[in-house]
Amino acid sequence: MAELSIDIAGLKLKNPVMTASGTFGFGVEFDDFFDLNSLGGFVVKGTTLHPRQGNSYPRMAETPSGMLNAVGLQNGGVKYFAENIYPRLLVYDTNILVNVSGSTVEEYIACAEQINELDHIAGIELNISCPNVKEGGMAFGTSCPAAEAVVKAVRKVYHKPLMVKLSPNVTNITDIALAVEASGADSVSLINTILAMAIHAESRKPVLSTVTGGLSGPAIKPVALRMVWQVSKSVKIPVVGIGGIMNSTDAIEFFLAGASAIQVGTANFIDPMASQHIIAGIDNYLDRHKFKSIKEIIGGLQL
């Protein structure tokens, strides 16, 4: 049994396995499946200042080894979250992060301020990379000045760990990561989904109501791994790896590439127990390879 705990710039995780926003509901949906306290942490659904109905149906398309989604941040708004969901989360003894999105910098600020009041929320994951909303969303994550502006603004009002979630839809993700680091982010998580599209040939229609959506799942793992590797070589803050992680071997690859923790996303749909198998598998890997702690393999790729 190796040491699995890790500190992500103030977030003390009992193990490096978290679950990704938008793929884990509010956590409570998993109560039937396993004890949530076994997780290093979990990130709840994308939350915005105002309630959002999300995009119209259809919102999902299956693709080779992956899927597209165009949920569009359906959520009840931060007030609804604080009043109706937050109280149900108090029972859990793990790191709960809220994934925050907005159409304007002001919305991000207002939302973050309210979350700052919630003691039991360990941190914010700032989503500057959602490809499925018309305004804001990904726009903040694809230009350095925009990313800087929103991170600086939120940093002023939010005093707990601030993780910034990066978009892969850029020419140079290290530029964005460096900008975000300089603006006060405590850590970065990557990647969000890749902007993509599906067409139904027989009906000659787009599969998604929004035409384009975000690609996730094993298909994007090689891209995510490359970006985690590039970013972790460039920034000093911890990197959280996300993208197509289905099993512990995938997770190990991300640690080797430089991730200090990982998030399990689409894998939750294929197997709600995925995060549990991953935790066990990481432990087994470390034991087999005689590592005493997860820290020994972070960035441990042998070139």
């Binding site: 039937d32 999300g54 919102r59 689409t266 939750n268 749909f269 294929i270 197997d271």
Partner: protein
């Protein structure tokens, strides 16, 4: 909202054993408190796979974990690991439950990659199944005359429904529609729970036409306390319209493309009076009043 939640602890006092040879004996329910079964991921063993016609197969899947109360209309999300092209699980209604053998039955119509691969499962194969999922049909509070209307593979959730309604001693008429007589399956088993009527588009079995062309949708419709339906959306909409016109309660079971099946991805929404709702958790069964389907 959906009344099925009231079934998490219900006394099904009218239960009697079932004579159906291939199907369940609900000894578990008999005079017992009905407990909601927790959803879980299980590796179920394929104990039989009967081919019913050219595209329908009936799988029996045995669990190692004691099955508890499963409601009609609830579904199972099944992993397809033998096809290279299928990534996500595929949802299927729980067709029947055999508590004695601790197994569930799944009726599969092969239409695409996933359903075709699953319908070729071999006895001895293991399938990863998440179940039971979703809210099922609700039961009338008093003895009622009910109509079950199934179209195509939409008959799937109606078998367990008929089984349990019969336990509750309701008066059951069952109307099943298909393209041709060949496409109608499991009529004999349905006949054990109620009076069977059929329609086929080519007139090869029962009334010619769609289910709504059947005489049951004429004057007699008003005599029913409730209609339960599952099938292609246009069919269900036609049934819902007539139910509404005749002021008969009606519950429909919706299909939708699902990623998770248990309420965390928000991909399977449908428009309801309460806004976007997930078919996998707020449904698949909805009262037509919740949808905007009355007209």
């Amino acid at each position: 909202m959906n009344k099925s939640s009231s079934f998490t602890k219900t006394k099904l006092s009218t239960y009697t054993g079932l004579p159906n040879p291939i199907l369940a004996i609900f000894a578990h329910y008999s005079n017992a408190i009905y407990l909601r079964m927790k959803k879980s991921v299980q590796n179920l063993k394929v104990v039989s796979n009967q081919r019913l016609n050219k595209d329908h197969a009936l799988l029996e899947l045995k669990s190692e974990v004691l099955l508890e109360g499963i409601l009609p209309g609830q579904f199972a999300n099944i992993l397809v690991d033998k096809s290279q092209k299928v990534f996500l699980r595929r949802p299927f209604s729980i067709f029947q439950v055999d508590y004695k053998c601790n197994s569930i039955f799944i009726l599969i119509k092969g239409i695409g990659e996933g359903t075709k691969a699953l319908s070729k499962s071999l006895v001895g194969d293991t399938l990863s199944v998440i179940f039971p999922l979703g809210r099922g049909y609700t039961f009338p509070a008093k003895r009622s005359k009910v109509l079950l209307v199934g179209g195509g593979v939409g008959i799937a959730p109606l078998m367990l429904l008929a089984t349990m309604l019969k336990q509750d001693n309701h008066q059951i008429e069952i109307l099943l529609g298909a393209r041709t007589g060949e496409d109608l399956v499991e009529l004999e088993n349905f006949a054990k729970y109620g009076t069977i009527h059929t329609t086929t588009e080519d007139g090869s079995h029962g009334t010619e036409g769609f289910v709504t062309n059947h005489a049951l949708f004429g004057e007699e419709l008003k005599s029913f306390d409730r209609i339960y339906t599952c099938g292609p959306e246009p069919m269900m909409k036609a049934v819902a319209r007539l139910a509404h016109l005749n002021s008969v309660d009606c519950e429909v079971s919706l299909e939708n493309t699902m990623a998770c099946g248990y309420g965390v991805c928000l991909c399977c929404v449908t428009e309801t009076t309460g806004g976007h709702r997930c078919v996998c958790t707020d449904g698949p069964v909805f009262d037509i009043k919740q949808l905007k389907w009355q007209n």
